[in-house]
Assembly symmetry: C2
Homo-oligomer: 152 residues x 2
DNA sequence: TCCTACGATGGACTCAATCCAAGTCAAGAT
DNA sequence: ATCTTGACTTGGATTGAGTCCATCGTAGGA
């Protein structure tokens, strides 16, 4: 984390307490916070930080390549600090839980030239969807082989 | 298209002029309109149709599995009527143009069990990004091997 | 310590989407 | 053909996410 702050300062990023707090809030594995969540957590450490400042800092971190935006639903963007390890996302259709995942092989390779329509394709974003273990348990009956209509 | 309307009516979908126009506007290949674009086109045929009705009709078509929502940028959702042929999307980073594409193989197969974290994974959405031919021409100099500084 | 250009603030604003109460109408029943 | 009714449409208000901007504050170099 302090590596990150040093690196950013080395690139001429003026280090303010607000920016430091935003960067610190985003530290960790499998972190995918919305801007409002970042703001809420930053507020715990720096009560007067404004939403605009959080948006500014997040936008700069994205532009600097330190954080990636992910949009897994049609709602708020999420900010993923795991920008230096290429990865994709696995999202629970029930509760929205997000995990970083690493598929086999090069995801770009499966798109044949004939399917590229002359595009210079350079990036792929993949979202896998399904039920997480907790949501699957909540949906399925405990003993699914027994017809509920015949019980009791 | 009339197949679609018949099918929906068979499923108890009350057929109104508004719904008919929304379904007709969405007909075609490589169609990826936003709700506002659908509304604008619907208005040409049915001047008094409201935005709320367009949103309602689109939401119902999605729930019925006849249309899929796609979110290729952080902005408005787009509606893709090509719901019965599984496909992915190729998006131009320059102009936002969207093409439907068909990658090789089963996109789910490349996610190893160890990367599924116990999820029952059932869907994949892939977005390929790159420059379309027109945007690539606009960015590159016409003869890229010649240094512009040495010309003229 | 002082300067100043860059950053932070917060309130107004935009854009996408949803909600709601009241009016309208598709389609089955008579 | 007309009636009836519950589902559909309307448009204005509202919400949620994000951006803009004039003003104030401050990081960090001289």
């Amino acid at each position: 984390m302090s590596d990150l702050l040093e690196r950013l300062r080395g690139r001429g990023w003026r280090l303010t307490s607000q920016r430091r707090v935003v960067a610190e809030v985003l530290d960790g594995e499998h972190v995918h916070l919305t801007a409002d969540e970042v703001h809420a957590r930053a507020t715990l450490r720096l009560p007067e930080i404004s939403r605009a400042t959080v948006y500014n800092a997040l936008g700069e971190l994205v532009a600097l390549g330190e954080v990636v935006e992910v949009t897994t639903d049609g709602r708020a963007k999420r900010y993923d600090p795991n920008a230096h390890r290429p990865h994709q996302h696995l999202v629970c259709s029930g509760c929205g839980l997000i995990r970083d995942v690493h598929p086999d092989g090069d995801p770009l390779a499966v798109l044949p030239a004939a399917q590229r329509f002359g595009f210079a394709v350079s990036e792929v974003e993949i979202t896998y969807r399904g039920l997480c273990p907790a949501c699957a348990r909540a949906v399925l009956p405990p003993t699914p082989s027994i017809d509920p209509g015949t019980v009791g």
